[in-house]
Amino acid sequence: MSNIAITDAGPSTAAKPLLTRLGAGFVSRLVIIVPYLWLLFFFFIPFIIVFKISLSQSAIAMPPYTPVLDFTDGISGFFAGFRDLNFDNYVWLTQDALYFKAYVTSVIIAAVSTILTLLVGFPIAYGMARAPATIRPTLLMLVILPFWTSFLIRVYAWIGILKPEGLLNQLLLSLHVINQPLIILNTYTAIFIGIVYSYLPFMVLPLYSSLEKMDYSLIEAAKDLGCPPTSAFWKITFPLSLPGVIAGCLLVFIPAVGEFVIPDLLGGSQTLMIGKTLWNEFFANRDWPVSSAVAVILLLLLIVPIMLFQQAQARAQEQDK
């Protein structure tokens, strides 16, 4: 009898977990595979193509570079093309001071804008997090609201505000604050205004989410232990909002480095930013290999802050455990 029982139980108990294990493993693997496939097709492969072009030479042809790697001469022809690839364009980037200056200016402008955005965004996020819970969704809505209008239109609107005969100057003139129009448009100030305005939501949202989580009784506890309000801010509120500060700064800094539209529309022709340089190389000079090299360097320049960002996130997650 006992034998029968064992053989009876055997297949059913063994088969079931196996099936579920297979099923669960398959589903979880699929979930992981999808984003990796996305990255492979829309990030890694395009990057490889751009990287290959950056190693080619400019040519008056279609496409405008040589060598073109294809299989018209068979596999050996495909590999023969590799011999013509070289790092000349990267060497060129170091020889013309223009590129170095453009990278440095971009990083400086992005860094200054990020700090300005943080200075503007922190009080906004703090005010939102301390607002009555009933009006917080409305405030959040207002922060996201500008996204409903085209980014380009909003930047154009700033031209209307900042130009010498624009709204701002008219207002200040009519209030007799100034005697003659301020020149803001086509200066770095205009770029800073444009970047701070455009990227503010990316700063406010992560800051808000970290400030909102904070228990207000911590501030009361700090005061109770003899800490005046300003000191309590720096000792409690700010350190606890640091994950939000880091996330917000990276979300602003990374796209700001490669920003093209804002410096082009608000900064005028003399501004030297890498996004604009890239655009010029690509469309004005039709030098795809050099612009590809510029893009690859820009990417490497941005990978460092992204890695820092990920490290900060990992650390924050560890803290939550």
């Binding site: 506890a221 109770d224 800490c227």
Partner: protein, 379 residues
């Protein structure tokens, strides 16, 4: 001699007319918009007293504590600490410290940094801070957890850190907002006694807010029972329990049986009461009640004896039927439906392992009690 004394026999400054009050609430009112959280409340707390503010949630007890800490200012009235008016003094300049209900430990600081926080604010020299922190860690038995972050501790350990942090500055008064609320029952009982020891050893004045009457009874020298922003009674735990001043207090603290009735006859030492349902009860005089006035007779379940036959010598004995029996181990709770319809709760301590006179459902039973077993309430 009969007495409703305090547990700490030698400590009763509230009975001493010359004792100097330490904390005084003088006609304090606090309004939040239209809502009156505290209504014209006056209260006196003495130095080294363990004082409990007991009440249901939303009764205003936490607001009292927050006004003492400085997080709220009274709308009217004033609060004095050691003779000094606290109005306008911000929380960070008050010589009181608070232990928060949520503990409010700084999550980005280790246990020792949390404890040292207040001392650093004071500008205490580093070696002294180190010494005091070590002392505090020893006091709450957390020496080996000094480097841990709050999220790496259990609930009980966090509670201890919060306590250590709030007493580290040696405040004049320690305020505790539901200090044991987040702990499980067993840990709570242990911690109650630890808090009492701590208060004795440090010689501090403790003001604790709680909704748990057992907690207040166990720890406090005196209890203020608060309802709707007003003080209902301030007294020692024994007085609150055995001599409640009103129906509300009698109901709020412990279980109670109430007989609505009228004073039928008032003699030299005893008063005869006729219950609304006809029960005749004789009680010792403890209030000035004229014959004919409406009163309530309140008696605690454990003061009532339940027997199957009428006790020969009982002054007060009422007949009924066993309606419900609950055996709780240490005691048995009977619900007796009197013949007039009223249900009486009586509890009997199971002092012996076997009973001679077991009562069960639907048995006829007598409830009896002494003339001094209950109190007559007029409010």
């Amino acid at each position: 001699m009969k007495s409703l004394g305090s547990i700490r026999r030698d400590f009763a400054p509230w009975n001493d007319p010359n004792a100097k009050p330490y904390i005084q609430f003088e006609n304090v009112t606090k309004k939040f918009g239209d809502f009156t959280a505290v209504n014209n409340l006056s209260l006196t707390i003495f130095e080294r007293e363990f004082f409990a503010l007991l009440g249901a949630s939303g009764c205003g007890k936490s607001t009292l504590l927050r006004m003492l800490a400085g997080f709220e200012e009274p709308t009217a009235g004033r609060i004095l600490l050691d003779g000094q008016d606290l109005r306008g003094i911000p929380p960070y300049r008050r010589p009181v410290n608070m232990m928060f209900q949520s503990y409010a430990l700084f999550p980005h600081m280790s246990v020792e940094k949390n404890i040292a926080f207040g001392l650093k604010q004071e500008g205490m020299p580093a070696p002294d801070i180190e010494k005091r922190v070590a002392e505090m860690l020893k006091l709450v038995k957390l020496e080996q957890f000094a480097k841990r972050k709050p999220h790496q501790l259990s609930g009980g350990q966090r509670q201890r850190v919060a306590l250590a942090r709030s007493v580290a500055k040696r405040p004049k008064v320690l305020l505790l907002d539901e200090p044991l609320g987040a702990l499980d029952k067993k840990l709570r009982e242990e911690t109650q006694f630890e808090l009492m020891d701590l208060q004795q050893n440090l010689g501090l004045t403790f003001v604790v807010v709680t909704h748990d009457q057992e907690e207040a009874m166990t720890m406090a020298d005196r209890i203020a029972i608060i309802d709707k922003g007003e003080v209902m009674q301030v007294a020692t735990p024994a007085e609150v329990y055995e001599a409640p001043s009103s129906r509300f207090v009698a109901h709020f603290v412990g279980n109670v049986n109430m007989f609505e009735g009228k004073v039928a006859e008032r003699a030299a030492n005893t008063t005869r009461i006729t219950g609304a349902t006809g029960a005749q009860i004789v009680v010792e005089n403890n209030t000035d009640t004229a014959a004919g006035s409406n009163i309530v007779f309140a008696i605690r379940p454990e003061k009532i004896k339940v027997t199957s036959k009428k006790p020969a010598d009982a002054v007060n004995a009422l007949e009924g039927e066993v309606y419900d029996v609950a055996y709780l181990g240490d005691m048995t709770v009977y619900h007796i439906r009197l013949d007039d319809g009223q249900i009486i709760r009586a509890s009997a301590l199971n002092a012996a392992r076997v009973t001679e006179d077991p009562l069960t459902w639907n048995d006829r039973a007598w409830v009896s009690f002494r003339p001094d077993a209950g109190v007559v309430l007029t409010r």
